[in-house]
Structures are given as structure tokens and as C-alpha cells.
Symmetry: C2
Subunit: 126 residues, 2 copies
Amino acid sequence: MTYKNSKQRELILEYMQGINAHVSAEEIYENINKEEKKISLATVYRNLGILEDLQKVKKIALPQERYVYDKTCNPHYHFYCEKCKTLYDLDEPYKLELDKTISDNEVIGKIDGHDIIFKGVCRNCK
Amino acid sequence: MTYKNSKQRELILEYMQGINAHVSAEEIYENINKEEKKISLATVYRNLGILEDLQKVKKIALPQERYVYDKTCNPHYHFYCEKCKTLYDLDEPYKLELDKTISDNEVIGKIDGHDIIFKGVCRNCK
DNA sequence: TTGGATGCAAAGGTTTTGCAGTAAT
DNA sequence: ATTACTGCAAAACCTTTGCATCCAA
């Protein structure tokens, strides 16, 4: 499908380019509409999908809002098959040194750990 | 708050211990109730929260279902402040070698890349 | 003129909450 | 007796969809 130009899509893109933060669809909607209504929420969602498709924007999962549960609580990494949507546990040892590497970053106060999700296609699906 | 024992909570824990997969609250609910009704969906949710609190279970964000958007599309890592819920970009270079390290895993067919989210408390909140 | 894009409202899906009753300590 | 836990239904969220209309090509 070929996309046509759209004022609303440009508004979103401009807004995203102008800020330096991660924002939800709702926030994008509200900030663009600060003064007068210029875009609807449904349009924001639709265009975020398109912009993602065009690789102008990327979706990120926040660590607080989640969907599946894991009985393994020790730190371990995951592999996510983009075809069958299965999440596999990996037995790769936890890389403590990663936490150290970034710990002197200017925004970081204290590090509790990290999660890694590898993405690709599993052997079954390939 | 001190937790009391609960049949339903044990059912969930037993179920989780008995499987080797990542499951949603809905799936837990359905599988436990396979034979006869033993637990309600609301109770599953409530107990998953408690079990998470007790570190018996861990929530995981799937890479497909997400909430915030990032205008930076090149691969980069994130730091998530658990206090103010802010997601920061890190400028740590992408570690290609990680993908290679795990690529000979038995379940992995093809690797497209990985995401890392570091978690902790940001300098502002500390 | 054609087909993608829009706004609105309705629908869908997931998670939380209020409440009255139940069970654990 | 006290307080957590339960089921149920309603509510709260977030996201998608149907539809008539609008607008870019």
C-alpha cells in the first residue's frame, strides 16, 4: 500500500522530532491538541502504526506494563520469535559487566539490573 | 501487609511450577479451570500481583504489545527509572557480539537483534 | 475519480475495583 | 474477631474498527 501525504501524520512526526522523550499515543494526542483540536486519538494510533512501518518511529515496551508471566525469577534472558510469538528462555549467563559498563552514565543514579530480549525467528518456524 | 494462605494462590503457583512456558493471566485462568471452575479471572490477576511481590513470579513485556514511542530508530538501549517511570535513552554502543554469542542456541533459527532495558533509579530521583 | 486518511462513536480486549460474603489466623 | 481473600459484575483503560466524509494524487 502506498501512503498519501497527511497533515496529521506530519504533525505527529514534527512533534516527535521536536521532543526528546518517550511518549504514549495519548500524550502525543494531548500535546498536539494543546490549543485547539487538530487530530483525533484514532488518527494518532493509525499514524503511529504507519510511521512504525516507515521506520520513522519505534514502539517500546515499558517494563511495568506486561502480559506474560514467568515462573523463573532469577535473571535470565529471552528470545522472542516474531513468527510464532513464542518467548523462549535462554540459558546464557547473566552479564553483570553490562551493568557496570553503563553505571557512570549521567542520568543513572543506581542500577538494579537489566533485561535483554533477543528477537528473530525460532528454529521451528524457520 | 501480611498475606494469608489461599487455595487459589497455591493453584496458580502449582500450575506455574508445572509448566515450562510463559503464560498470560488469561491462559493461567483457563488452564486451571480446565475441568471445573476453581478460580476467577480477577483472583488470578490479584494473585499474580501478590506472587510478583513475593518474587515467585515475574512479569515480562512482550515486544509486540507496547506503550511508548521513540523517535530514535537506530538500535540503542534504555534505562528505566522505577521511581519516576521515565525511560531514558543510553548512548552505549550496540553490542553486536551479544547476538553472535547466543546464535548457536538450539531454539534459535535466526537473530534480528536485541533490546536491553536497564532498570534502577535515575539521578534525579536518588 | 480513486483510494488512502480523517473524525466520531462504538466495539474489543485486558486489567482493576467495589462489594458482600468467605475463609484464614 | 479481625483482616485477607474470593467471586461476580461493573468500571476503567487502552487500542482498534466501521462508517460516512474528506482530501491527496
